[in-house]
Symmetry: C2
Subunit: 383 residues, 2 copies
Amino acid sequence: MINPSLLEIEEENTFSKASRLVREYKEAHPEKDVLSLGIGDVSCPIVPPVIEAMHKAVDELSDMEHFSGYGSYYGIDSLRQTILDHEYSSFGFTRDEIFVSDGTKTDSTSILELFSPEAKVLVGDPMYPIYRNGALALSRRVYEAPLDENFVMEIPEEHYDIIYICSPSNPCGNAYSREDLQRWVNYALKEKAVIVYDNVYACFIQSDVPKSIYEIEGAKECAVELRSFSKVASFTGLRCSYYVLPKAIDTKYWKERTINRFNGASYIAQKGAEAVFLPESQRLIQENIRHYHENISYLRESFVELGYEVHGGIDAPYLWIRCPKDMGSWECFDWFLKEMDIIIVPGIIFGRRGDGYFRVSGLGTIQNSQKIMERLKRHEEGR
Amino acid sequence: MINPSLLEIEEENTFSKASRLVREYKEAHPEKDVLSLGIGDVSCPIVPPVIEAMHKAVDELSDMEHFSGYGSYYGIDSLRQTILDHEYSSFGFTRDEIFVSDGTKTDSTSILELFSPEAKVLVGDPMYPIYRNGALALSRRVYEAPLDENFVMEIPEEHYDIIYICSPSNPCGNAYSREDLQRWVNYALKEKAVIVYDNVYACFIQSDVPKSIYEIEGAKECAVELRSFSKVASFTGLRCSYYVLPKAIDTKYWKERTINRFNGASYIAQKGAEAVFLPESQRLIQENIRHYHENISYLRESFVELGYEVHGGIDAPYLWIRCPKDMGSWECFDWFLKEMDIIIVPGIIFGRRGDGYFRVSGLGTIQNSQKIMERLKRHEEGR
């Protein structure tokens, strides 16, 4: 009676398989100093004003005068208001359209519960694999669209109901331009489709691309935008995210669904999230982002110097690199691991068309990156 | 394109409607001192050792040497081990069968993602309405079974795939006996069905009924047990729960599902949860539980004294009371609110067969209860 859709999640090409191979390699070679370019986690700690706000929240839970029990299903009102004021008021949204949650991974596919189970779901190939696999866990029909030469999902000729766009992109490291997004919004309006716009890397944008899909005309009628505190504020372990569900799509049924499926994000994480918007937090967070940009630039230049075909890394913390010597993704993963004790992420994890590429993360430390790139250079010179 | 199942969640009989009516009444009568017997939230704060553990966890997030980012999808290993050691080791489970999550409300219906969307889901009528409504959000086919005279769900003659049992029961305040549970386990084994056993009120059990469904022979082959830190440790705002998914049902596909749908409970909440099992925490928590028992006993005796037909309140923090004068649930709700400024929960919220009853919560303070019961007595005397 196991959900047959779960059987479609192919273990053959997953992060789990990559982790298992690394673990087996480390166990077989305990003396090796294995270094990773694969880490999607952050390397900057949480900034002091946020830490302080969370200590205060912990204290509040120790006496009934300040205790917070069950909160709003949709997030603490003051946090929703703060998000609205800082990120979305210029688009004419109201607080009622902002929902706080406990992580974009969950949100990205839980939103499917709002729509008919018959909805045809379109994801990119390659793209963050959670959309496909999460949609399968929810027994949705998932289809894959190829990317064009700029790693932008091609507009299909067929009808789809739900379109996933991840921009700035994991794994390709690019961001969709205004024109790219306008084409997709036009498609969605024509097809009465909904775009699920995963914008968790917005804080890394440096070039002149939209920082929100709502900069695009018509997007308020067809797009849900997902954001997170994970990367920008190092909340990866804390779990706090938010999304905009415009009234034009629905809020009534979604509220009823959410009352019945969720009890709010953790109070302490939400109070921390509120403090993320304090001016001093924002100043410190910008320093962290600068650190990540320096790191990814260094990695980018180093790989280019070594003759690799490198994409991304300007508006997102990822590089999307073609495997050398026409290797497939897993072969390349093996080569890096066994020849150099370096972990990369095989592109095929993100879809079949990702084969022949690998992903490098810029979220690590520059010290780690320098060590890795020196090792790679020595290896190339030694050939 | 709204999920048609969501339209089946009837706003007519929901907590939301009750809250709205209360809000409207308070707005129309700002001078009234409205008191509640409906509160499902706790009235004891979090105990000091847990507070201390959470402060430590907050501090860890402030420097990279101790920072915890993305954690295990299934919970921190040490927490899973602690839960296993304290609650489940005697049943022969392993840590791999314990999953930590962010709330039983979500868990109770997310577990349906493991099973075929064609699965026939059976809930009790009356029963905690989240199972029905959450299953609808997941587009499952939901059926309702009546309860017998002891408020135990009757064994059906037909086949069902997933059976929800809430024991100790919300809203009926009773707990299933060994014999009741053995009958249900036998049914599940015969029908190859799965029991989702919501056991979040286990800490309130006083009489000789099973504290876990795994005390029942055969349950390890057919039952998932859900537990939470919400009521026992006042984690209602923190969000941390756990459940046992026995290997005999599945853990492989569930792990793959969970990797793709969840990123773990909040680190601080999990570190707090670990400290719940410290001896000093347990001692203080038992004092809180004693407080709740005193409160519910007082309420029980007071209602009995006034001639009400009262059920439950021994093994669960709820009383299930027949409405006086053959009133329907909403009529009775209105009567308490408008005549006495007292909030009760209409039984029909828990299912059509709950009409004619109301639920009283014992999770409030004894001071509040005394004030309410004195008001009720005065009103009865004045008639």
